[in-house]
Symmetry: C2
Subunit: 340 residues, 2 copies
């Protein structure tokens, strides 16, 4: 049923600036014996997310860095192949944090069972998982988006942004996305129903935002910081809320670059607040109930960018930080029996 | 009882960078006739505050700029010399917004009577007025300062900062001030009871903050932005709150300078929120009750930097933006009968 060889991608060196393929190493190791309460999983899908760039550096962050020579971390959807835990049986599908490898061993308590009959099992890495929950609480809890308000979302075709913009529409807001290509603009407006879209490579971001947001900006779900945040601040309304979800524009910076002038915050009595989805674990049910209902009703659409083969992970991750993916980036590491 | 000549200081030109004396013009005009419901006030004290720099520019802000050739705006404590309003009588002391002139005419509804028997009438421009109320709500409402937490205050010997730090102590916090001279450091620690102080001209602001805040920073009442904010962000705790009260470091900048890198906000899930005291008018009673009680109990100390003569206002204001004042800067424009 499974081999005894585990393919792993290790962090070989800490990147300076953009990661390169040589920062990673693909190795083969034996699968160790299972300990008490542990489960052996065969990885089917591995999520690649911008936050992983932070784990590659030894700067202080909300989580420890990956040690050199250790397996890169990441959320995974897997199938149980061996279990020493009473709650998990061979054949179960589970959401875990096994990282960049074909097999993972985890304590049963760290795994969550996935029902393969609801939505595709890979969705647990995206719209019904961490990125979707990030979008939901960033927009509604920190952002406090209200009907009639204007919501701007950066990285708007990505795993978090696409959900944030669609929920904004469901809540009666004007949703404006910022993305990196015209093709993505077309997608979020014509497929996802955003009201307007701006290509971030446009010459005058500030004027483009002004045109797209005739009533100003009330909420900005910020996945990028950098020049987009700076331009948004020129057009915020009184009492605007800016959940800072990510700083994709900064992740590869070797030295912290400067941020925006904060005068508009004072003038508009607006707030910027750092957001981490881990702070919302206790409110997961709210999110799951709403999103499952919206998915069933066809109000939420979801696009995955699935790349096959664990060995493609480094290159795909480097592209993710450059905005080359289109939709939620996922590596298909192994066979998905629910798709056969 | 009063002359018929009004001395006024007008905005003559919009400054580029730091204001200079030539941006102002001292003129003499006749006092016009009083209209219905209006009151003629003789200015005793004029408040000089950093926000006035914003009014000298025609950049968008929370209030309209002063028009060229018009009287500079500002809060005033005055005595009524003529009244067409039933609530005000000759001899009353009033808090108004008559600006940089020896006589002002105002609608009665815009004035507030001051009781000269409680605290010196000039306090209405400082600790019991707008700056004190700014300190109070920035620290307690946006800042949510709790016992045992560490509160950092910039411009800590100024009108807002000195009150914020003292209230932090009253609330059981560790209070750390940042000021521009060793003399001011000595004052806020030995007179006002701050736990520690940093001269902002120190070579390594970040290390000095780290030493002064061994448990990290929970609240930062930011009057300055600029390098102090940047250094503070290196040491904030999880869930830190930063009310952005002023950007003294930026007010003279001709072009907006960059702000701090915002990565620490994400890592620490911290917030920065623009603050304007005008948003708290309805909660003035809370503030007045607490501050009056603390003043009576000797828990709050207050230092004024009184400069005599309206003609000194431009030079004093220029110095204020450079941090040359020591305590709340007030121009004594006319005789104070309560001090005789």
């Amino acid at each position: 049923m499974f081999g005894s060889i585990n393919q792993q991608i290790l962090l070989k060196s800490r990147p300076t600036g953009e990661p390169i393929e040589k920062d990673f190493a693909l190795v083969e190791t034996a699968i160790p014996e299972l300990g008490q309460g542990e489960v052996l999983n065969r990885t089917i899908y591995l999520s690649l997310d911008p936050y992983m760039r932070g784990r590659m550096s030894d700067r202080e962050s909300y989580a420890d860095p990956v040690e050199l020579g250790k397996v890169m971390v990441g959320s995974t959807v897997s199938q149980v192949v061996k279990s020493n835990h009473p709650l998990f049986s061979v054949g179960d599908f589970v959401l875990g944090y096994d990282g960049w490898q074909t097999y993972g061993i985890a304590k049963g308590e760290t795994l969550r069972k996935i029902d393969p009959n609801q939505v595709p099992i890979s969705y647990a890495l995206g719209i019904t998982g961490m990125p979707g929950m990030t979008a939901y609480f960033a927009l509604l809890d920190v952002g406090q988006a209200k009907p009639g308000e204007t919501v701007v979302v950066s990285a708007a075709s990505g795993a978090v942004g696409a959900v944030a913009g669609q929920i904004a529409k469901i809540k009666g807001c004007r949703a404006v996305g910022v993305v990196g290509t015209d093709e993505k603009c077309d997608y979020i407006v014509n497929e996802l129903g955003f009201d307007a879209c701006i290509n971030r490579k446009t010459k005058d971001l500030s004027s483009a935002l002004k045109a797209a947001c005739p009533n100003g900006i009330d909420v900005y779900v910020d996945n990028t910081a950098g020049p987009i945040l700076e331009a948004v601040l020129q057009h915020i309304n009184l009492g605007a809320r800016i959940p800072l979800v990510g700083l994709i524009s900064q992740y590869n910076a070797e030295n912290p670059s400067y941020g925006p002038n904060l005068m508009p915050l004072l003038v508009k009595r607006a707030l910027i607040k750092g957001f981490l989805v881990g702070d919302y674990q206790e409110r997961q049910a709210e999110f799951i109930n709403d999103v499952a209902q919206w998915l069933r009703a066809g109000k939420l659409k979801y696009k995955e960018d699935v790349v096959k083969g664990l060995e493609k992970a480094p290159q795909s991750f480097i592209g993710l930080l450059q905005g080359q993916n289109f939709g939620k980036l996922i590596i298909q590491v192994g066979d998905d029996p629910t798709q056969n």
